[in-house]
Symmetry: C2
Subunit: 318 residues, 2 copies
Amino acid sequence: MTKYLITGAGGFVGCLLLNHLGTRNEPKIEVLALDVRSPRTAFPAFPFSFRFEAINLQDKERLETAVATFKPDMLIHLAAMSSVAASWEDPTGCISNNTQIILNVLETVRLYCPRCRILAVGSAEVYNTGGRDEHSPPLVETSPLHSVNPYALGRQAQELIVKFYVEQFGLDIVSTRSFSHTGPGQGGHFAVAAFVQQLLNAKNSGEKTAVLKTGNTDLVRDFSDARDVVRAYDLLLLKGKSGEFYNVCSGRGVSLRKIIETAAGLLDLQTVITVDPARLRPNDPNYIIGSPEKLRTQTGWTATYLLEQTLRDMLAVR
Amino acid sequence: MTKYLITGAGGFVGCLLLNHLGTRNEPKIEVLALDVRSPRTAFPAFPFSFRFEAINLQDKERLETAVATFKPDMLIHLAAMSSVAASWEDPTGCISNNTQIILNVLETVRLYCPRCRILAVGSAEVYNTGGRDEHSPPLVETSPLHSVNPYALGRQAQELIVKFYVEQFGLDIVSTRSFSHTGPGQGGHFAVAAFVQQLLNAKNSGEKTAVLKTGNTDLVRDFSDARDVVRAYDLLLLKGKSGEFYNVCSGRGVSLRKIIETAAGLLDLQTVITVDPARLRPNDPNYIIGSPEKLRTQTGWTATYLLEQTLRDMLAVR
């Protein structure tokens, strides 16, 4: 019996990860799923032993009780305030939440189950992306770091904390630098899900042309399907090297405009794009493209969804 | 009228800094001194307008009220859990306290007095000191960083946070990387003060030989007199460059054994040194010597106390 503890399990990625664990056909796992509150929709019946508990990871005592009792073999830390936009509204709230919860998780593991293997999900936002353009080589794990938003800063602090717990306390932690990802079920405060929702609204209202409110659609990002991302997380937990950081990305850049056009085409819609200043973020870099080479080489991961398929699934068109 | 807010004002360095501000002969300053609790001994009468308030900087609301009301022109952030030994007892307590309080201080300044000039006191513990020996050049501000104790990790996170607030919010922050310092009034949980106390106890008991309990006395450190350190802080607040980090150090290394011998000599005592395992710290580097060149060049600071004078003053011998 392998015991998995998953933080942030009620979120978009958490739910996909639980589904993925269910498809692996290994009945001998037991999952304790944590999130700050119960998910809006009930979890489905999983083909493994499953329990959910609502715990705020800032509440160290409740976390300690849960970990000391459950004693996980594997821990996947997905929990985080993950919106860059929201991090500008409350910089200290985001920075301190995300650093405090990784500290609490690692310290609790150190005290109660120090041999537990941990996957610490992090972000490609930590990279120095200033001045990058279409000629820049993709970001690799040794590329320089530089945080230009509060969310990124919290993630960079998380990396320092993780390295410290690996080096000083011998904890077994693999980390990701996850790039953009999307898929069915993502919340509408992320760009692609917001586009999809607006396009579906127009289609359902019988419009021929969708008028979309967007941020800067010239931005080029490296998008993966979140279902591929959770497979990467599972593989990294099994095969990643402790103390190392891994890009989780497709290696391909696509502009947000191109995503809108592709999705609109699938619904047979024309589009008119209007920029909503409230959706522009400070310091949003033009190009963020990563190299998944290290992930591929060390785990055998490859992406299985092309972006068009992801959009089809989000729009529920065939 | 220049208004100074000083955090950690009740500590050893805070009290020396207040004394120093009193000697500058500038009556037109007003000081609001904060500390987590009232100091054990009352503050003397200062030749400037002075008020003390007991505030835990983790209590953001009380800090905001104090800052919004006082609206300082200058802020000297001395507050921190500053014991490396204690940081090993409670890693997350130290890391999260020291990062949370700098976040609260900077965010409060950003919201209520964004033009306030700030001195953020940090530590030379952030440097990578692994493998350094008597042939290594002194540490300069561009030397690589690597935290090997929880206290250092909190200080390294503080540096990330400071850089972020300078770059993204335009705050005016000068930072120090302070090396070891000591002087009259330092608490006995720091090495030199502990030696002095043990030597004075032996002398006062009429012993000819003092039997000292110590940690590793072969360690070489760069010691300054704390009265020189507070002058450096004052000069950096006036002349340091925003966003920059400054070593505060003497440039000279001395072994802890040599300090004990010098102090014992001043009291005419022989010494027997016994190593107390409880005073050995994990990862304590052999050599930490810094270069004060940047501080000297940019502020004109020079040390005025030689170590023997510092020890004389701590032992109260002439």
